[in-house]
Symmetry: C2
Subunit: 242 residues, 2 copies
């Protein structure tokens, strides 16, 4: 473990509040992109979790996925309301991210209950990692919103118990789910790179623009590495080689 990685912990210095930072058009566009991507991500997560509930073997399991889906919707609502509050059309801001997110879900449609659980867990965890990484780049108001959305995750713990139990009962399941976990991470990185390549303002926020405590491309690479490493540790904790 390295010390003082820029993405871990929160900055001691504020870059200002939304009103002052948003005066810079590039920053404003980048944060709107970020909030739009997060908002549609939550809405599509709601939809997929609700759909994957059809695989649930019982009422309690169905309710557990429904609970996660509802939590995602609450996040969507917070992000949507902030977009409306700053005077933009939330649907228009989300629009560029519909296709990459739908593509991710199309490429990673679970074929059974356990694949759905692993996806719910991995998705929840990657989202939390990304929120934590990006929060340090943001003005005070946006950071507070992102941390608030993030603090309400972690509903996926039940998935861990169920998956671990299934692997104990039939170790062959572990091989199949390990492959599935790699595919999820691969598709997530692939769509994330597509978004970064297409959205200049958002990329500028990530690689550092005016008025932003920027980090360079090496830092972007490190961020993706940290998220990938965290994924690897989680998969191992789940009993899955990644």
């Amino acid at each position: 473990m390295e010390t003082q990685e820029s993405g871990e912990g929160f900055p001691t210095e504020s870059i200002g509040d939304w009103a002052s930072c948003a005066a810079e058009p590039g920053y404003r566009a980048a944060v709107l992109d970020l909030l739009g991507a997060l908002a549609y991500g939550e809405l599509s997560a709601f939809e997929r979790l609700a759909e994957d509930a059809k695989f649930a073997p019982g009422i309690a399991e169905k309710a557990a996925l429904a609970r996660m889906a509802s939590a995602e919707f609450q996040h969507y609502q917070l992000l949507h309301d902030r977009l409306a509050e700053v005077g933009v059309d939330p649907s228009a801001v989300m629009a560029p991210f519909v296709e990459p997110l739908e593509a991710f879900h199309r490429m990673t449609a679970p074929s059974d209950w356990l694949e759905g659980l692993v996806k719910a867990y991995v998705g929840d965890a990657i989202a939390t990692d990304f929120y934590r990484e990006v929060a340090v780049r943001l003005d005070d108001d946006t950071r507070e919103l992102v941390l608030r959305v993030m603090s309400d995750t972690g509903h996926a713990q039940f998935a861990v118990d169920r998956v671990r139990q299934a692997i104990e009962e039939d170790p062959r399941v572990g091989g199949r789910l390990a492959l599935w976990g790699r595919r999820l991470m691969g598709e997530a990185l692939s769509q994330a790179q597509r978004v970064v390549a297409e959205r200049d303002a958002l990329s500028n926020l990530l690689v550092g623009g005016a008025q932003v405590q920027g980090f360079d491309l090496v830092e972007v690479g490190k961020m993706f590495n940290r998220i990938t490493e965290a994924h690897t540790r989680r998969m191992a904790a789940l009993g899955l080689a990644s």
Copy 2:
């Protein structure tokens, strides 16, 4: 409008709290049935609304159905928690109602966005009517829970605006949706009768048992009539003959 219909308004006299009423095994069994049916009804409503969101023509519409679905899940959670609180296994109590509710949804799967909207609106309204009717039969604690769940409905108002607008744009849509509304009500009554026929304790609560301010079969008929009449008025307000 008749005055003093037994289902309208709330009783001035309490039949007692849950602890005292539940000492009577028939009453206890009936209320557990009722809560089980309501709980699974909310969970399956969540699932269907979330699935019907796939027909949404845009992000705002998708979010509106997701919002309704999440509200249904919150209701489920309240009912589930009460069941757990009184010491029963919520899944076991819900189990007898899975098949009638799944049958209802199977028979009334919307084929497009407008059918989905009408179903969301009608379902929400019938549920509210039924909650209001049944609340007056209940002990103080259970009534408070049922009214709390009910007070959070009404998310379906947006459906009214969208359906009315679609009929204005193309009046032929009204004929198809009127037929659809009749089918929804018919299937709902059919499954409700199936449940009442199969669940003795619940039927006893509805027709009046020991320690319950009972109402006779004529009153049950009146209750179904009131719900049907309210449905008719709502359909007319929506621009649909029922």
